[in-house]
């Protein structure tokens, strides 16, 4: 895969289709790939990497990249492509300034999960069958690849690239039975006390680094309400339990109907807070109450929160369901 992608990247540059290529750049280790802009075939030869650690969603970078002169190529995984479409719907990406190469994806790994599996000091990786074989300073270790997969990949909602100029690999299908709402359902089945305890144990660890927000393709505001001193709710740190809750509730609300469930928020959280469970709650509720909706799946459909029908459920529907008191 990497070889094909690199070849394509070089080809696009060489034949002048694009002026720049957005991709993943090699780091110090096998896993610390950084999104980067490549401008020459030589740079691509030297530093371009596509591997199971190319998890970063590239679509948000296109906001800035497509404002620049010339054309940029981007390699877009299925889940990234939903963000790409959603951002176009929001007029944030100039599609004419980018060339999208869709790439099939079998799931991305996360180094945090490798470390969680007890593997320390990893310096190199290879794949053997369904396993990751890791060279470490403490000798060779191996683990099942599925244990290192990002949560969003374990419950991959779609392997279909929804917007592209060309495709590398075969385009996949949507996967409605991915079980991505299982965890939400588990929480819904709890009592409110249990749910409250669960979320406090999670959100109280938030350090308000804003990584979730800044990585989020839906959070593309010029200035976030939480950074705007005139908004009345600006906060640089969560100075109380309330502010911890408030930030995450309002953030989830602001991206509701626009969140494509790309899972970047949970991937980047340094505290491993399962933030996607907040977004998925909104998605699940909207699906159940207003009919299935996938943000970024098409260019036309209005997000349910910006739409209505005259016979929608009343808010009291909330009292009639969920865990016992």
């Amino acid at each position: 895969m990497q070889a094909v992608i690199k070849k394509k990247a070089k080809e696009l540059l060489e034949c002048g289709t694009v002026d720049r290529v957005l991709g993943w750049k090699a780091g110090e280790f096998f896993y610390d790939l950084t999104p980067a802009v490549f401008t020459t075939p030589e740079e691509i030869d030297k530093d371009f990497v596509f591997s199971v650690f190319s998890g970063a969603n590239m679509s948000k970078y296109l906001i800035e990249e497509t404002k620049k002169e010339g054309k940029v190529a981007a390699f877009i995984k299925p889940c990234d492509s939903y963000s790409l479409v959603q951002l176009q719907k929001e007029h944030r990406i100039k599609r004419e300034n980018c060339y999208i190469v869709g790439i099939a994806c079998d799931g991305m790994c996360d180094m945090g999960l490798v470390r969680e599996a007890g593997i320390k000091g990893a310096t190199a990786v290879s794949e053997k069958d369904d396993k990751l074989v890791l060279e470490t300073i403490y000798g060779e270790k191996e683990m099942p690849k599925e244990k290192a997969l990002l949560e969003r990949c374990v419950h991959c909602k779609s392997k279909k690239v929804v917007d592209f100029d060309e495709m590398i690999g075969e385009n996949g299908e949507e996967n409605p039975d991915c079980g991505r709402f299982d965890e939400v359902e588990r929480l819904e089945a709890m009592t409110p006390d249990e749910r409250f305890a669960f979320w406090r144990s999670q959100l109280s660890r938030c350090i308000r680094c804003n990584a979730c927000r800044n990585v989020c393709p839906a959070c593309s505001c010029e200035k976030c309400v939480f950074d705007n001193p005139d908004s009345g709710i600006a906060q640089k740190a969560a100075a109380s339990d309330f502010e911890e809750n408030n930030f995450h509730i309002i953030r989830a609300y602001h991206v509701a109907g626009r969140c494509t469930d790309c899972g970047e928020c949970s991937r980047v959280c340094p505290q491993n807070i399962p933030l996607h469970l907040l977004n998925r709650k909104f998605i699940k509720d909207m699906n159940e109450l207003y009919g299935f909706y996938q943000a970024g799946a098409d260019f036309e459909t209005k997000p349910p929160i910006m739409n209505y029908t005259t016979n929608d459920a009343e808010p009291s529907v909330v009292y009639q369901r969920g865990g016992s008191k």
């Binding site: 950084t34 308000r208 804003n210 991937r267 491993n272």
Partner: protein, 340 residues
């Protein structure tokens, strides 16, 4: 030197916590280590290091400075400073221990001193635990830190499969060990542990990180390096690196009007934020390139300028692990100053 069998470690924690609050690295709800006050049943984390550094205990993310009370048009000022109880931090790694020295230079020894920081620092006893299993992200050796030597605290500690070994380094350390349920051990009891650790340290990939391009007086050479633009282009502008960093020390002062009282508090700030040092005249560092540069120039040049060449980084590797896009100080050190 003293020791205690690992099987009995809870007795030790209990004994300490009877005297003082004991902070211990414990796995949190998501299995990541954090310093948490010990209580019966809590187990020490097996992770090499905590996600957030130990600086939180001296320089918390949010801290009240002063409160105001309004009664109609009258204003009353209330001192928000509280007397701190003495506390023990157990299991600080040598890198974090070194970070206290860096913070001390700013908050403890430089005028104006930070009385809030000093109040906490004075009440603390730090037990530094050597690293047996350093990881690929560790580059503390580049800053002269020896992971096998548990220096920089009040008590140095080592562990092996069986025991913890302790050696008091300061008077505070001696006072702590006094009266704890510890056995005596011979002076060289930890030598084998150190030897094993040193052997691992030899294998660390970032062991020989070259810092010669950086240090006091390098502003002119490095400030306009074209590589800053390239390095910073993918930076998200989040505060993860600064908030997990043991040496980042910037804060902002904010007011909160809660209706009954107005609280003036300080909270961590991040030079990566777009409103960092925002002034009414505008933003002195208008793009992420300038903000990104500020962070690393501060650690590698400005701080050494002000503090006898000492770097404001301890090589703990937290930013290497946690940056959402894997940009970090090691990449900066290796890239900046290369093209001449």
């Amino acid at each position: 030197m003293k020791k205690i069998a690992k099987a009995k470690i809870d007795d030790l924690f209990k004994a300490i916590s009877e005297k003082e609050v004991l902070y211990l690295p414990v796995d949190d709800a998501q299995g990541q280590a954090a310093f948490i006050p010990w209580k019966e049943g809590l187990k020490m984390s097996g992770d090499l290091n905590t996600v957030r550094s130990a600086k939180d205990l001296f320089f918390p993310q949010v801290e009240s400075l002063v409160n105001f009370k309004m009664d109609g048009k009258k204003l009353e000022i209330i001192d928000a400073k509280r007397e701190n109880d003495p506390f023990v931090i157990f299991g600080v790694r040598p890198c974090d221990a070194k970070s206290f020295e860096i913070l001390d230079k700013v908050f403890y020894y430089s005028e104006p001193v930070d009385s809030f920081y000093i109040a906490r620092r004075d009440k603390s006893t730090v037990v530094v635990l050597a690293c047996n299993e350093p990881e690929e992200t560790c580059f503390c050796q580049a800053f002269g830190i020896d992971q096998a030597e548990a220096a920089g605290g009040d008590v140095s500690a080592w562990e092996d499969g069986e025991n913890f070994y302790f050696k008091a380094v300061t008077e505070k350390g001696e006072a702590l060990l006094e009266g704890l349920p510890l056995e005596d051990a011979e002076d060289g009891a930890a030598d084998d542990i150190k030897k094993a650790a040193k052997a691992v340290m030899e294998k660390l990939p970032l062991r020989d990180l070259d810092l010669s391009k950086f240090g006091a007086g390098k502003t002119q050479e490095l400030f306009d390096d074209p590589a800053w633009a390239k390095l910073s282009e993918s930076c998200l502008g989040c505060g993860t690196c600064t908030f997990v960093c043991p040496t980042c020390q910037c804060f902002d002062i904010k007011d909160f009007d809660g209706g009954k009282q107005i609280r003036r508090f300080r909270c961590w700030d991040s030079c990566m934020y777009s409103d960092f040092t925002q002034m009414s005249a505008g933003q002195p560092r208008p793009t992420q390139k300038e903000r990104f540069r500020q962070r690393f120039m501060h650690k590698l040049v400005y701080y050494p300028d002000m503090h006898e060449g000492m770097f404001s980084c301890v090589g703990c590797g937290r930013c290497l692990r946690k940056c959402p896009i894997h940009m970090n100080i090691v990449k900066v050190i290796k890239t900046i100053g290369e093209e001449k």
